[in-house]
Symmetry: C2
Subunit: 201 residues, 2 copies
Amino acid sequence: MPAPIEFYFDFSSPYGYLASEKIEALAARHGREVSWHPVLLGVVFKQTGAMPLLQVPLKGEYSRRDMHRSARFHGVDRFRVPTKFPIPSQAAARVVLWSAQRDPALAARVVHALYRAYFVDDQDISSPEVAVAVAASCGLDAAEVRAAIEDPSIKEALKRANEQAIAKGVFGSPYIIIDGEPFWGLDRLDQVDRWMATGGW
Amino acid sequence: MPAPIEFYFDFSSPYGYLASEKIEALAARHGREVSWHPVLLGVVFKQTGAMPLLQVPLKGEYSRRDMHRSARFHGVDRFRVPTKFPIPSQAAARVVLWSAQRDPALAARVVHALYRAYFVDDQDISSPEVAVAVAASCGLDAAEVRAAIEDPSIKEALKRANEQAIAKGVFGSPYIIIDGEPFWGLDRLDQVDRWMATGGW
């Protein structure tokens, strides 16, 4: 079986959410699995000088329109820009890293549950309490998740994950790596598809 | 006949060049023509705080790779990143505005000739002499083109064109407007296609 697709994302990223709804079916069509890599774009943006998308003059207004149009274009029916946006996503990212240490399949379910809580149900997943409740809805033990969010080893794991992502060139969300080839953005899913089918061009 | 597609671009924009090679056939499939709008992204970037793409840490390296990959993906076989890149594109933009005042069809030919001179033949079209020679190859009178580049009314027309573009929300290249709906980037051509087919979704 070929290597999994590496899927880097920030829980505060709308295009990351939209791509998260598409990537597993896309990967499966080519016999691939997805490895989920939550990162903190705030850390990455210090490298690139980028600012939160909706705060950029002109581009911000366009992007708000484009997000909704792109959601419909890609057939993701359920999407809204949350009331609190963007958010710091440490708590959610740590929950995923901790889940992944226990069970990668469970971590994938937690990713979807957290993303949908934020971009569908408008829950503020930057709140540890909310993140814990969402994880508990996936069958995790609430007290264990609560402890994991404050666990120094999990905090350290997220720092390392960010550093490793930057070392691989990740500068945005979603950022997908297939056998070393990088693809940035929801709008590269067509190239991601062809790359898996052909091995490159 | 429906209204033309508005195609905003900077002559220094690789993705603008790639889209310029695709947009007319795409428009024609839906019974549309293309109106060409050269703008200066340097002016626009003062609004958005953006910097030249290849100078952005991480994103710059990715983009260089992505440009070549996207060129091949879209079937644009002839493309290189020019030796001198990016460039100020005033001279080329003024030649197009002046041509368009005389003959829109001629202006379209001049757009393609200038873009290909830069991104295929590695000619420095920021040089008025080079821009004049390219225009002359399209059948324009070299002395008239040379005068047009320094003509105060053409300089003023380009300033107005930039202001009008910013007023319409243009912040990047290519930027395509169809019946008021804006699409930014080569990677929105799939949405552009469907939008013309369906009138929106």
